[in-house]
């Protein structure tokens, strides 16, 4: 293979400006592919995080209760047909059976990063004459913060849910006219309730979410919802956001409860995101195609320019296979150099754009970071693309008739 390397590199070097231009062209195309791939990933992560609010990656809930009629619904053998009217059951607030065992099971799963059990149910918040209905969620502060990043969403106060403490959303606090240190009354259908002191105010980024939740300690919520020692759901964060559905499916095999990923509960969001992904994939393919055609045409011209040299190499004793590989290798080298430059350029572009592009609320739309796997895939892809683009010129070069080529 050394012969091919030596000749391919010399041919490219001889190409001079022509080689430089196609390498730069390939680098520009590849840098855009790198940029848009990284950008889309960051953007989608951001969209998901904003849209999901405090939704976890995976939720474990009790299976829904179904009514099981004792009589068979279909006639069997000679048994008389029984017509029955089965009413579906209303779903009660229930605890997850053996939830401690489930948590232990989750801890052993390699994909799971954080686990937060919680007890949530309907309730009322009262201050003076104003009543608001909401969901009272009992949490354990640290694991819940690890799952939902609630600590980062606090705008006032602290993430503190000791007995007698409550955290309210910003809009709800405004509606009730309360601030840090004020007290509100929480009650539920199963408890006449008690007064709680507001320790923190959070902003989940949407008004209805800010009016929907009040956070208290887990034990407090268990008492309010009459679920002593129980939890209504277990929320789980997994390593990779996009991998949540696979992890949920894996978990469902061993956990005898309802396991749902955010991907399943947010179908519409997922459809929108995958359309976006499809669109970018098409854009990337177009760029790849343009780069490939560029490489192919430059090499095609090089074959014509070097017809005499190829002829002399063939006459002197270079096999067709070697000539073929010399040109395939040139495609691969252009792809390699183009992708190394392109990755660097793509990163620079991301750095620049992350400073320029901001979302409506003033936050950075995305942050540039070195994505080694992406660079690796891009480089391998670009080398393959270069080889494929070189196929036609290489074939043509290898089929030149040396006797004719020399006379050109």
């Amino acid at each position: 293979m050394r012969f091919e390397w030596i000749v391919a590199l010399r041919f490219l070097r001889e190409g001079g400006l022509q080689t430089a231009l196609i390498v730069v062209g390939a680098a520009l195309g590849i840098s855009f592919i790198v940029f848009i791939t990284g950008f889309l990933g960051e953007l989608q992560r951001d969209i998901v995080q904003r849209t999901l609010g405090v939704q976890p990656h995976v939720t474990i809930k009790p299976l829904e209760e179904v009514a099981r009629p004792l009589r068979p619904e279909r006639a069997q053998g000679d048994a008389p047909l029984v017509l029955s009217d089965v009413q579906p059951r209303g779903q009660r607030l229930r605890s997850i059976d053996q939830w401690q065992a489930t948590v232990a099971q989750l801890r052993e799963n390699g994909d799971v990063r954080a686990i937060s059990p919680l007890a949530a149910g309907p309730g009322l918040v009262t201050r003076g004459d104003s009543n608001k209905s909401l969901t009272i969620v009992g949490i354990v502060a640290e694991p819940y913060a690890a799952v939902t990043r609630l600590d980062q969403k606090l705008v006032e106060g602290r993430l503190q849910v000791d007995p007698g403490d409550v955290l309210l959303g910003r809009d709800l606090a405004e509606d009730l006219g309360v601030g840090i240190g004020d007290t509100v009354r929480l009650s539920t259908p199963s408890s006449s309730g008690d007064t709680y002191r507001v320790r923190g105010i959070f902003d989940l980024g949407a008004k209805n979410l800010n009016q929907l939740y009040a956070y208290v300690g887990l034990a407090t919520a268990q008492a309010l919802h009459a679920l002593p020692g129980g939890v209504t759901s277990i929320e789980v964060t997994v390593d990779d956001l996009w991998d949540a559905e696979r992890v949920a499916t894996d978990l469902a095999r061993t956990i005898p409860h309802l396991v749902e990923s955010w991907i399943r509960t947010n179908r519409q969001l997922m459809v929108a995101l995958s359309n976006q992904t499809l669109m970018t994939r098409m854009i990337r393919m177009c760029f790849g195609l343009v780069v490939a055609i560029g490489v192919a045409s430059v090499l095609m011209v090089a074959v014509v320019q070097k017809t005499r040299e190829i002829g002399i190499l063939r006459a002197m004793g270079t096999t067709r296979g070697r000539v073929l590989r010399v040109f395939l290798l040139q495609g691969a080298i252009i792809g390699l150099i183009g992708s190394v430059l392109g990755c660097a350029l793509g990163y620079a572009l991301a750095r620049f754009m992350s400073g320029v592009l901001t979302s409506a609320d003033g936050a950075r739309l995305f942050t540039a970071h070195v994505d080694l796997p992406l660079y690796l895939y891009t480089t391998v892809g670009a080398i393959l693309l270069g080889v494929i683009a070189a196929a036609l010129p290489a074939r043509r070069a290898s089929r030149l008739d040396p006797a004719q080529a020399i006379r050109m």
Binding site: M1, R2, F3, I6, R10, F11, R13, E14, R308, E309, G311, I312, L313, R314, A315, M316, G317, T318, T319, R320, G321, R322, D401, P402, A403, I406
Partner: protein, 241 residues
């Protein structure tokens, strides 16, 4: 003709037709019989269109005969695969062309090392020593690292001659090797060919239009209209001088 010296080239009844099977089929060579023994120094002459280049391409394994038999060093090579013929070119033949055809991206030394690179797959020390020696013997000791573009036509042709001899071929095929050079450079180049013939014993076939050059070879093969019209030793009846 002693039996021990088997011919390098042995052709019998070789024909070459172009556009075979088409209405415009033409036969360019009509049954050539030719034998070239090791160490011979032969000129191939004839007017243009007589089939010199076609014959040279057949001898040089750049083309296949339509009929007849061709043995290169006693081996029938007519139906061999392209790779086998390429290998035989590398091992047995050397080429010198009218327009010298050096690779512009390689230095003079590297151009002479190219056949070795093809044979060994990499540049080696022994190739380098061999190339230095050859370039020195063609009077280009000071031009090892020069690119072909930096050399005069005569110098380029001397590099090409050195390259043709790099792997000590049995037969060197030269197509108008001096056709593109001034008289002085042409004489120099021709003298080199004669010297290598004497020193290294490889056979030469030199295609030329120049009767003066042909007269300085040992044997003249004259083609006319696709047949050998005359084949024999040079008659020392040239112009006195």
């Amino acid at each position: 003709m002693p039996a021990a010296t088997a011919p390098v080239v042995s052709m019998s009844g070789v024909r070459k037709r172009f556009n075979e099977g088409l209405p415009n089929e033409t036969e360019v060579l009509h049954g050539i019989d030719l034998a070239v023994r090791p160490g011979e120094f032969a000129a191939l002459i004839g007017p243009s269109g007589s089939g010199k280049s076609t014959l040279l391409n057949l001898i040089g394994l750049l083309d296949r005969p339509s009929a007849g038999e061709y043995l290169l060093k006693g081996v029938s090579i007519g139906s061999a695969s392209d790779d086998e013929r390429t290998r035989a070119r590398l091992d047995t033949l050397g080429f010198v062309f009218q327009f010298h055809h050096l690779l512009p991206g390689f230095s003079a030394l590297e151009n002479v090392m190219l056949p070795g690179l093809m044979r060994d797959g990499a540049f080696t020390r022994s190739q380098r020593e061999n190339a230095r020696e050859l370039l020195a013997s063609v009077g280009l000791s000071g031009a090892f690292d020069k690119r072909p573009g930096e050399l005069s036509g005569g110098m380029q042709q001397r590099v090409a001659i050195a390259r043709a001899l790099a792997l000590a071929p049995d037969l060197v095929l030269a197509d108008e090797p001096t056709g593109n050079l001034d008289t002085h450079s042409a004489d120099e180049a021709f003298a080199l060919l004669r010297r290598f013939n004497a020193e290294r014993g490889c056979a030469f076939i030199i295609v030329t239009h120049d009767p003066r050059l042909a007269a300085r070879c040992d044997r003249v093969i004259e083609l006319r209209d696709g047949s050998v019209e005359r084949d024999g030793p040079v008659v020392a009846a040239g112009p006195p001088g």
